[in-house]
Amino acid sequence: MAYSTKVIDHYENPRNVGSFGTSTEVAKRSDIGIGIVGAPECGDVMQLQIRVSDQGIIQDAKFKCFGCGSAIASSSLATEWIKGKSVDEALTIRNTQIVEELSLPPVKIHCSVLAEDSIRSAIEDWKRKATASTTVANCSTT
């Protein structure tokens, strides 16, 4: 399989690798949204973590990925694209844009779909937690 230079670049120099703490630490934080998509038996698992401001701006993003080079590149690219965007803007990112940017061949389209899903999933997680913490805050003030 021939890889595009952009895939190789993301593979060799992945952007924003990491997480904002252990799985138990980040689970408690309401400013962090976590998206974990895929499964080990399918050969790819993507984990995207976003740190979001009260105004709904994605201030930072971190990823980890178990998967092929194209999956790594797709998730690395996703973190670059969503940083600084509002969650609503981030939700407009489509997998086809990732395919185009990385010149992914047809057999690797599912990697880009997974990256889109991870963005969606992380934002949903953040929204759920943010709503829950607001509810708790309201309760405590009454």
Binding site: S4, I8, S23, E41, C42, G43, V45, V113
Partner: protein, 417 residues
């Protein structure tokens, strides 16, 4: 698409189970048969034909010697796939218990982790009225005579068990399975593609009726192979798959690939000469490869039986790292992976799955196979490169994080896609 980085200097070839470099001595032996002795071996009335025929008969002798057979028992084919098809379909047709179009035509035994070139002919026979049992291999991958005995039925007509598994290098109990088949008067075929030329073979003492092998796995040319067909005790008969000029004793019509057959014969001769020393040399290299990788990288598993393996094949899973991305990290090394991403079907290796290796570890596997030109320097370099790539990928792996946090990955409910 191809980056200049994809064209690497000094690649390390560790994919000898896929194919081997043709030995220059083999090429040298072949060359006159393209230009000088270009005759058709079937031309019985002039010297061009005689020269070609002589070349083929020398090769038949060389091939026969490598497996302890008589020259008349060797049929030249295009390779193991054709040899397997001819052996399995050709024998089933002759030994069938009922005619075409009927059911209950006979029972065939094979194993779930055989090569597709055995599984698919057997599956075709199942659609044509035969029954089959696919023995599920144990975790070590080795098929024993007891397992075959347990699968035997009164209507069993054919057993086809490969000598060495091509993905794992594991060695099945071939002489014992052969003895069992002869006791039960069942025809025994073995796909010996990864065994012959590397390990000593004697179709008499190993009790084999039909044996397939290929030229390109033993430093010979592609597109040529052989099928050994036993002629006495018992005389094995086959229905030809291809009709025509009646070459190869009527079992394989078609003008012989003279230069290819000459090269195949030469390759067989060279293997017979070098086998003993080469086996010892490769075993030492493979032992170093495996022990270093297991020592340096945690959660590294060598798949298949620890000892009952040919010296040149190693199948290793590196936990929490996906195989294709690992191959990308070691682009200087030419090897194979059981990862789905490297296959057209997007399914992980059915061989590893049949052993009960978890899907995650199947996705994390590399097959490294050594050969005549593999040096210790190659192995040393490969060990370092693999270690570096696995470490790089584990820094990216969410599964490795979970492992380090002490979380059992098998207990997590994943969002499958």
């Amino acid at each position: 698409m191809i980056s200049p980085k994809n064209q690497l200097p000094n690649p390390i070839y560790l994919d000898n189970a896929a194919t081997t470099r043709c030995d220059p001595c083999v090429v040298e032996a072949m060359l006159p048969y393209f230009t000088e002795f270009f005759g058709n071996a079937g031309s019985r009335n002039h010297q061009f034909g005689w020269k070609a025929e002589d070349g083929i008969e020398v090769a038949r002798d060389q091939a026969a010697k490598l497996v302890g057979a008589q020259p008349k028992e060797i049929i030249f084919t295009s390779g193991s796939t054709e040899s397997n098809n001819l052996a399995i379909k050709g024998a089933a047709e002759i030994y069938a218990k009922a005619g075409a179009g009927q059911t209950g035509r006979g029972h065939i035994i094979t194993a779930a982790h055989e090569h597709k070139a055995v599984l698919d002919p057997v599956r075709r026979l199942m659609r044509e009225g035969f029954d089959a049992t696919f023995i599920q291999p144990p975790a070590d991958g080795v098929i024993t005579a007891e397992m075959v005995a347990a699968a035997m039925r009164p209507d069993t007509i054919l057993v086809s068990i490969m000598w060495v598994n091509n993905e794992l290098g594991t060695i099945n109990e071939v002489p014992k399975i052969g003895r069992l088949c002869h006791e039960r008067e069942v025809i025994f075929h073995t796909d010996a593609t990864q065994w012959v030329g590397k390990m000593p073979t004697n179709v008499e003492t190993d009790q084999i009726d039909l044996l397939s092998w290929s030229g390109h796995k033993i430093y010979g040319p592609k597109g040529v192979g052989a099928l050994y067909v036993r002629r006495r005790k018992p005389r094995v008969r086959l229905e030809a798959l291809q009709d025509g000029g009646g070459q190869e004793r009527g079992m394989r019509s078609g003008t012989q690939n003279v230069s290819g057959i000459v090269g195949f014969g030469k390759a067989c001769e060279l293997c017979a000469q070098t086998m003993d020393g080469e086996g010892t040399r490769l075993l030492a290299l493979r032992t170093k490869l495996e022990s270093e990788l297991v020592k340096r990288i945690e959660v590294t598993v060598v798949n298949g039986h620890p000892i009952k393996r040919v010296p040149n094949i190693s199948n290793i899973s590196f936990g929490f790292v996906e195989g294709e991305s690992l191959m990308m990290g070691v682009r200087e090394i030419a090897c194979s992976s059981g990862s789905a991403c490297t296959s057209a079907s997007l399914e992980p290796s059915y061989v590893l799955k049949s052993l009960g290796v978890g899907d995650d570890l199947a996705h994390s596997s590399l097959r490294l196979s050594l050969g005549r030109w593999t040096t210790e320097a190659d192995i040393d370099a490969a060990i370092d490169m693999i270690e570096r790539a696995v470490n790089h990928l584990r820094k990216l792996s969410p599964l490795y994080d979970l492992h380090k946090e002490g979380i059992d990955l098998s207990k997590i409910v994943w969002q499958s896609h």
